[in-house]
Amino acid sequence: MLIADSTKFALQAITSHRMRSFLTLLGIAVGIAAVILLTSIGEGVHQFVLAEFTQFGTNVIGVSPGKVKTGGQPPTGIPTTARLLTMEDAKSLKQLPNVTGASPTVWGNSEVESNGRLRRSTIYGVDADFLHVFSSTVQIGSFLPKEGEGSSRALVVLGSKLRHELFGSMNPLGARVRIGGLHFRVIGVLAAKGQFLGIDLDDTAFIPAARALELYNREGLMEIHVSYAEGISSATVAAAVKNQLKLRHGHEDFTVITQEDMLKTLSNILNILTMAVGALGGISLLVGAVGIVTIMTISVTERTNEIGLLVALGARRSTILSLFLSESVMLAALGGMLGLLLGAGLAQLLRFLLPTLPVHTPWSFAIGALVMSAVIGLLAGVLPARSASRLDPIEALRAE
């Protein structure tokens, strides 16, 4: 029997019971729609979170003092035996090939006073490279100037939120600001960056790292952020950074974490999340598959006569098997297509109604869903089709 003919035969069998077939394939459709919708939301959240993390640029490597094997860093303020990362370390990293910037980083929380107002904000001690490393932009004025670390002048750049809190709509440039016990002059304001995982990135002030060390009475830096040229592998740069610091420190008493590694780990976690919600949708798909088994079993019983006839007309057992299998595969595939439209449509609707909820339907999921529904049809059809192909033709012809 030709494939085109068995397909047509199966389709005729499906369309001869329109309502029943529709309800059966609806079961699969709902399952596929649920899988697509849930994985779309999962994938949307995935992309949203990754975008949050990559808004500072993806080609950043963090160097922190102390060798911490499991990642993370020792809590600040607790004395450690690790050798400190110094301004000289940061400076030496700037010289490495492919490195586009290395910003020493010290941070803390201090009272900022100016214009008769007082506010607690996060203070970052950085240098001129910070702007480049974290892909920030200056709104007005300029960022901290490049200069030797010995002559770091008492200048400050404000985050947009802090600027509003202290100065309102007044021009802050040139104003004097007291941070902790030190006095600074405002030379610029950064463009708003928004929130990052609940932290307001704009309620900040940036001062030269050397001044921050002085302010917080620290010997060493908390971290050095290194950025490198686009298209260079992070591993190469990380190795170069390690070598350079080992040369300076004598042994590896620092930790290098590339953002790529971090994102990879995060991405894996989010993938598992997506799969987990997809599996929840899969339960309804399973119910749909049971529906196919049921209806195919009924169909075989109803058409016992026809099966006997097909044997008498010279059909092989394998032909009868494939006829019923293609019927259940087609039922499931049609259901899959309907589910795809339903799921993608709902995802679009959701995006339209709730624009803040990230929803994203990747094509690979859509194709995967179709293939999955066909496989489900095949599996669901096996049992009834086998019983059909094993019928005794004489009994089958006699059945009423």
């Binding site: 029997m1 030709l2 003919d5 001869s16 006997g308 007309l313 010279g314 092989r316 057992r317 004489i394």
Partner: protein, 236 residues
Amino acid sequence: MADSKSLIALKAIDRTFYLGDSQVYALRNVNLDINPGEYIAVMGPSGSGKSTLLNLLGLLDRPDAGTYQLEGRDVTTLAPDEQAKVRSERIGFIFQSFHLVPRLTAAANIELPLILAGMPAAERTKRVAQALKEYGLVDRAQHRPNELSGGQRQRVAIARATVQRPAVLLADEPTGNLDRVTGEEVVRLLEALNAQGMTLIVVTHDHALGARARRQIKMEDGVIVSDITHMPEQAG
């Protein structure tokens, strides 16, 4: 004894069924030779084994003992797929209840054996069109079985049984579900096919129908009790 010209040669065929504890001998030591072009009626009361004989001849059933040669070839030992091929090409079935597929049109029902045999669509269309014409069903081609009369249904079934041009036509009570007039029509159609050379074997307990066959086989309790061949009385 079976000579090489026999279409069908049954030798010492036994077929036993088990109903619970008891054994039922459906066929006991049946020997039968059938030549090409014969017109045979198999008669007997129900349970006499005539239907079992027909199923056996149609390769729907296997004997427990004995051999069955069809066109000189032992078909009892064939693999199931090869038996299916023999059924497809050499044997046509006609049933009492027609067994038309209800969702398919008359034309599609006639086409069914050709589809199962894997014939290309173009060739099939030609053969079906010819069959429809031969059996006077052209204007009924696109009707489904429930829109056809009993006689038309059986004509569709006969067209389907003969569209592969089989060597032997097996009819199980072909007029059982028809009134006298349409039954007569169907029988004449079958006899016309026989006149063209097709071997016709009819199972019936209708004596009037059985009496029309040239060779009449009577069965009782799984045994052939009489096998009479009438010489054609009226030549012409």
